[in-house]
């Protein structure tokens, strides 16, 4: 048994008050969960503390929330570990996920993970007491808050799920017995079937923070469940739809947040990347987002140059060519002009650190033979494609990566 302080972001819609923080002292075994802690507070101190929960075992997906700023399931987070994490954050002076004085606007989306800032200096528990760092608990991000930790998943998460036509579309009559399919194909999509629709990935998604219309990690993982299903007959139509949507598969920025957040190892970002590869394989390469072009341009550039020439990548993404450094095609020039405001902003905010970086082809060389090495890695990866799927491989530390092909590496050395 140990004592913990839960610092809970509360919002009582009928009180007429803005959201506020409230601390609860709870007393339980460190191996129990943050949800157990919340339920103890609810049982002992305040029955009005609202949190959706049911199975307590990370199966039902009800208790998505943010613990110390990270989107997760309350039942899957051990309270002892959450406490240690809170202490580490306090020592390292990591700003808490949200300022204590910051207010939710009732009915509006809760700020996502990116809106850090503020301090908890007004919290009485913090002053000098090293062990007393509270576990900070908030509702999920990217969704409107209804009450305390309860968010409106219908208007966000479920609407997006329905967007991807989430049911099997086979053609023709069903066979008399089962569909005969490759055994590996079922295991492959079982990874996305493992999704419990908890919304943790949606809560953590940085792209969705920038573009609330982004279909998002959960719904796209659901889409892969059908695209990867050999029984589904509308694979190409699905991919065309998701590639052409301006908020579709190319809206993901590879930030890995959803992979970190997912409590079930679904790895939504991996599923999105599979959708992109499937789109390329199905010849869906004419999307108005230039997503397919961007992917192809990036791959070619790494293959050829062994480094990313960002300015050239912009040009190439608008119109593939890679003909010459300063000979962009007409389409590329048009695209580049359209990108100018973004480029200017990048310079202004320091994202593009030197103006020379915005000129295609003037990207500085990497030191030593680094670019050659990257090219060698690229060739190796091309020749040894490995689909990473936890259901096939398992999280087995005994699993040995295949040895790199030595002759391949020597050639380039």
């Amino acid at each position: 048994m140990a004592e913990y302080t839960l610092k809970v972001r509360r919002y009582q819609p009928e009180s007429g008050q803005a959201a506020y923080w409230e601390e609860f002292k709870v007393d339980l075994d460190p191996s129990l969960s943050v949800l157990d802690g919340l339920l103890q507070a609810k049982d002992r101190d305040d029955g009005s503390l609202a949190v959706r929960c049911s199975c307590r075992a990370a199966i039902c997906g009800s208790c998505g929330m943010k613990v110390n700023g990270s989107s997760t399931l309350g039942c899957k987070t051990q309270i002892g570990e959450a406490h240690e994490q809170a202490n580490r954050r306090q020592k390292e002076d990591v700003p808490p996920p949200m300022g204590a004085d910051e207010e939710y606007k009732p009915g509006s989306a809760a700020p996502g993970r990116g809106s850090n800032g503020g301090s908890i200096s007004d919290s009485p528990a913090v002053a000098g007491a090293e062990e007393a760092a509270p576990i900070v608990i908030e509702p999920m991000g990217n969704m409107p808050v209804i009450k305390d930790l309860i968010t409106d998943m219908e208007s966000t998460h479920w609407t997006k799920i329905r967007r991807v036509t989430p049911w099997l579309l086979p053609h023709g009559e069903a066979p008399e017995r089962e569909y005969v399919v490759e055994p590996e194909s079922m295991i492959d999509i079982t990874q996305s079937m493992a999704c419990i629709q908890c919304g943790a990935c949606v809560s953590s998604c940085l792209s969705m923070e920038a573009d609330p219309d982004f279909i998002g990690p959960a719904a796209l993982a659901k889409a892969y469940r059908f695209v990867g299903d050999p029984r589904d007959a509308e694979t190409k139509e699905r991919l065309h739809d998701l590639a052409h949507d301006p908020h579709g598969i190319y809206d993901c920025t590879h930030c890995f947040s959803c992979i970190d957040a997912c409590p079930k190892g679904v790895a939504p970002m991996d599923q999105i990347m599979r959708l992109r590869r499937a789109a390329a394989e199905e010849g869906v390469d004419d999307d108005p987002n230039n997503g397919a072009n961007h992917v192809t341009a990036f791959v070619r550039m790494i293959e050829k140059k062994g480094t990313n020439d960002e300015a050239l990548l912009v040009q190439e993404s608008h119109a593939l060519g890679l003909k010459g450094k300063l000979k962009p095609s007409k389409g590329a020039i048009e695209g580049l002009l359209k990108s100018l405001p973004t480029v200017l902003r990048a310079i202004k905010t320091g994202k593009a650190r030197s103006p020379s970086k915005v000129i295609p082809g003037v990207h500085p060389k990497l030191p030593g033979g680094s670019q050659d090495e990257v090219r060698a890695i690229y060739r190796h990866a091309e020749e040894h494609r490995e689909e990473f799927n936890l259901y096939i491989k398992g999280e087995d530390e005994d699993f040995v990566e295949p040895e790199p092909d030595e002759t391949d590496m020597e050639e380039t050395a």
Binding site: E14, R56, S62, L168, E182, M186, Y391, D396
Partner: protein
């Protein structure tokens, strides 16, 4: 007032299957659930679903295993229907998109399960219930024009007409606290079991026996309420489930001396004897001092090849890691028997019809009875789907037959008054709901569990009746309308207490040992006097006992050996 031909209460597997089946008959369907459908507890069924679909297997063999597993208390006509229709149902699910495990030829593959004479369990890794339920929910989204979904609506009572026919339900919209009377020509209860009456339990917090209690309160008969399954492999303390699939894949049970103790209890089937047998064996080892100091025995999964564990038992790798801090691929995990399943429930015929006209029940809420004294692993998903579908079809047919009268609005007014009264209780007027719930759970787990006797059950019954009194003045903190979970918990507590009372009364009545009911004061099965169901019906001062015959078609009772 929302109105549908068929109204389904509960949206787990039984409810969703019933709704889809009714919609297929062309009637208007509403499905209503106190949580979002995909949060339903069917999710937790890990291991699989039984069907005699392999060449060389037969539905009769499946049925016999089920009859024997039930300790001959199951009704053989219902069991035959379930087992005969099972293969078709599996294929239907496969066609809808369930990602069942395949064998090397790309056809449906099976695993072994407890109490079964053949490997006939179809599965999706160890997320079978979840995988099937999410696929059914896909179908509900697809058929949204035929099936209206009411997600996060809580039922407080069934509404009857003047002739005593069920014509609707009174509900509270959880999101805003408004009360509604839903009108229907047939109502199907598919609200799951009552595991929360025990603590610990493998069951979710939502499994509070709502459907069983609501049916009981309007006069429907309950049956086999004493039959409560304790699952052999649950995590000590927290009650989380470790699938029987682990033993199906070859895992061993060991006592603290490292002995594979099942040799002494079930020399042929060993770890794969039926659940009541394995749970009693474990409890005996623990009680006689051969368990671990934390009151457990060990499940050794390290004997199963690692790749197979990761492929087929991944969920319990996570459960071990996240909830017990144990890497099950490297060391045994401590387990004990824990509350798991309600074999009894609302008495129905093979089409889900209860004693109240217009009222149906399916899944764990119902007692058809296909599980009798003990349910076999991987038969519960099958039960939900077969009898969910049959209820949906029959309810649709009933709805098509006629208009009937309308429910009285008095039910709505009475429920509103009841809720207002709960909210009006002042702080300090009584105990907290959570305290009463805790006392109920620990009492039932101590007295009405694997081993029972008259004194213990009587003591539990006395406690339950006192708690019923106390519950009437239990207060709630939350006085609001929006997501007032505190208030709903008070209503659920009432449901749980009704369930508990019925279980105690039936357990006290059955003076023999059969299936999950093991009476240390009557340790033998007694077919002469007790090969019959105990039925309970609400009377003035609690449940009134009557008996009904067990239907025996082709399998005469014999001694059970594994």
């Amino acid at each position: 007032m929302p109105k549908h031909d068929v109204l389904v209460i509960g949206a787990g597997l039984a409810g969703q299957r019933a709704a889809l089946a009714a919609a297929e008959q062309g009637v208007s369907v509403g499905i209503l659930s106190k949580v979002h459908p995909v949060r339903s507890h069917s999710n937790a069924a890990q291991g699989g679903i039984n069907a005699a679909l392999n060449p060389g297997d037969s539905w009769e063999s499946h049925a016999f295993d089920t009859v024997k597993g039930s300790d001959y208390l199951g009704d053989q006509d219902a069991i035959s229907i379930m087992c005969e229709e099972a293969p078709e149902e599996i294929l239907h699910l496969e066609h809808l998109g369930v990602t069942f495990h395949r064998n090397e030829e790309g056809r449906l593959g099976t695993r072994a399960f407890g109490g079964a004479s053949a490997a006939r369990t179809y599965y999706v890794a160890d997320i079978t219930g979840q995988a099937i339920m999410h696929v059914l929910y896909e179908q509900l989204m697809k058929h949204s024009e035929q099936v209206a979904r009411y997600e996060e609506w809580f039922c407080t009572a069934l509404a009857l007409d003047e002739e005593g026919e069920c014509r609707g339900v009174v509900t509270r919209n959880v999101a805003d606290g408004s009360m509604e009377l839903f009108e229907a020509k047939a109502v199907i209860l598919a609200c799951g079991g009552n595991g929360q009456v025990w603590k610990p339990t493998t069951n979710a917090l939502i499994c509070t026996g709502d459907g069983i209690a609501m049916a009981y309160r309007v006069g429907a008969k309950l049956m086999d309420m004493e039959m409560i399954q304790y699952h052999p492999t649950t995590l000590a303390g927290k009650g989380f489930l470790i699938t029987e699939g682990a033993r199906g894949e070859g895992a061993h049970l060991l006592n603290a001396k490292g002995e594979r103790f099942m040799e002494r209890y079930a020399p042929n089937k060993m770890e794969l004897a039926s659940r009541d047998v394995v749970s009693r064996a474990e409890q005996t080892e623990i009680d006689e001092g051969r368990g671990f100091p934390d009151g457990t025995v060990a499940l050794d999964i390290t004997v199963v090849p690692k790749k197979r564990v990761h492929e087929a038992l991944r969920e319990i790798v996570l459960v071990g890691r996240d909830f017990a801090g144990v890497d099950i691929t490297r060391e045994p995990i401590h387990i004990k028997p824990g509350n798991h399943y309600t074999m009894g429930g609302v008495k129905t015929d093979v089409d889900g019809r209860t004693d109240v006209p217009g009222l149906y029940a399916a899944g764990e809420t119902a007692c058809v009875s296909v599980h009798g004294g003990n349910r076999l692993g991987a038969n519960s998903l099958l039960d939900t789907l077969i009898f969910g579908r049959r209820s949906g079809v029959d309810a649709a047919a009933r709805a098509k037959r006629g208009e009937g009268s309308r429910p009285s609005r008095e039910a709505l007014e009475a429920e509103q008054a009841q809720i207002d009264a709960i909210a009006a209780r002042e702080k300090g007027s009584g105990r907290r709901v959570s305290e009463i719930k805790l006392e109920l759970g620990t009492t039932m787990d101590a007295k009405v569990a694997v081993f029972r006797d008259e004194a213990g059950i009587a003591e539990a019954l006395e406690t339950v009746r006192r708690l019923k009194q106390e519950a009437e003045s239990a207060y709630v903190d939350d006085k609001g309308r929006i997501f007032n979970q505190d208030l709903l918990a008070a209503i659920e507590l009432g449901y749980m207490l009704d369930n508990a009372e019925c279980t105690c009364v039936a357990a006290l009545e059955r003076k023999e040992s059969r299936g999950a009911q093991y009476r240390t004061d009557f340790p033998e099965r007694n077919d002469e006097e007790w090969l019959k169901h105990i039925d309970l019906q609400l009377a003035d001062d609690g449940p009134e006992i009557s008996y009904s015959e067990v239907t025996i078609t082709q399998w005469e009772p014999e001694e059970r050996r594994y």
